[in-house]
Amino acid sequence: MKKFSIEMTVGLFMVAGIICLGYLSIRLGKLEVMGGNSYEITAVFSNSGGIKTGSSVVIAGVDVGTVKEVTLSDYQARLVLSLPMDLKVQEDAIASVKTKGLIGEKYVEITPGGSEDIIKPGGRLRETQPAIDLEQLISGFVFGKI
């Protein structure tokens, strides 16, 4: 049998390396290779609770999308949510910022509504619920406001 040529072995090495690189960036880094099959809607919160780009968007405990952009507009937090094309969000759905566990990371939960109207790509989620400030809650409890 002929010995493997240098070109062949180098090619194999390159392919193996690129596969590993692809695994790291697509599976772990969540790099979006296929754009286009998702759409964006915005939601304005009075308190984002320190949510970051890349935080997950959850419906009924299932990861469905990501937070694409966090900006300040008119002293309120404006979040751009990226959702898959086949997911319909009703007009009266409620978006709320929640925390995983007591000290876990922040995520956006969408509670589906009952309306017949669907939010179009680029549209805005009207009903939002700000992040709960745990310290404020505790101090309210301690000082007897609740």
Binding site: M14, G17, Y23, L24, G29, K30, L31
Partner: protein
């Protein structure tokens, strides 16, 4: 000579060498960007720097990951947060250990050989023979190494990371019972694309450092490190020491810049 002049002479000679080293890098990049590039030589050097290092990278990567699995589990279990073993192993491998250890391995395995090869070509006047035949010695010796190192290092680092993550899973996930879902799921939710990119930028710059320092030390064997076999041995030692030190120092600066 009085001590003041000695200090001055020492400083000047050091500065001169640093200047030569900087010009060496500049010239390598210049010839790298101006065609023609010796494609055959580049492939041969990728074969040497990249492919022949895979076994070493595979072994060191798997065992680093396995050690991280044990040690991470030990520290995390004290806080009752074994579930975060995946992110811990993944982040420390991707951001720090992968690029640095694979660069040190490549320095020891390929960098020393490059310095020795070019050094022997220098002392046996083969570089002069190349120049005499009208071949540009930079284009023939230095540029292929530089391009091959820039291509190979990120790929080797990626292989190292994947082997390490698999090794960590073997120990943490299978042996100590963290579970595949927790290990990989938590890792995927905590590792960001910017972390992966940080590792890639680091490995690219380490590739440049290895090729630069090792070629430079070999190329100036007779001029800076003395004649004959002793000169080559000195050049090889200095190449390995200097590139290892530079890799760790540069790693600190890159980490603090990208933090």
């Amino acid at each position: 000579m009085d001590p003041i002049s000695q200090i001055g002479a020492f400083t000047l000679s050091r500065l001169y060498r640093m200047g030569v080293m900087g010009l060496f890098l500049f010239k390598s990049f210049l010839y790298g960007f101006i065609p023609p590039v010796k494609v055959g030589r580049v492939i041969k050097q990728i074969h040497f720097i990249g492919l022949q290092s895979t076994l070493v990278i595979f072994l060191t990567g798997s065992f680093s990951g396995m050690v991280l699995g044990f040690q991470g589990y030990y520290s995390l279990s004290r806080f009752g947060s074994e579930a975060f073993l995946g992110p811990m192993v993944g982040l420390s491998l991707i951001k720090e250990l992968g690029p640095v250890i694979s660069a040190l391995m490549v320095t020891g395995r390929a960098g020393s050989a490059i310095a020795a090869e070019i050094g022997i070509m220098r002392i046996t006047e083969q570089i002069d023979a190349l120049e005499l035949m009208g071949l540009n010695s930079f284009r023939y010796l230095v540029v292929p190494n530089l391009i091959a190192a820039i291509i190979s290092m990120p790929l080797l680092t990626a292989i190292f990371d994947v082997c390490g993550i698999a090794g960590g899973y073997l120990i943490g996930g299978k042996l100590l019972g963290v579970g595949a879902g927790t290990y990989f799921g938590e890792m995927a939710s905590y590792v960001e694309m910017s972390d992966v990119m940080e590792g890639i930028y680091k490995s690219l710059s380490f590739g440049i450092i290895i090729a630069w320092v090792c070629c430079y030390k070999g190329y100036y064997t007779t001029i800076f490190t003395g004649f004959g076999a002793e000169g080559v041995s000195k050049a090889t030692t200095q190449a390995v020491v200097l590139s290892s030190v530079l890799i760790l120092v540069w790693d600190y600066f890159m980490t603090s810049a990208l933090f």
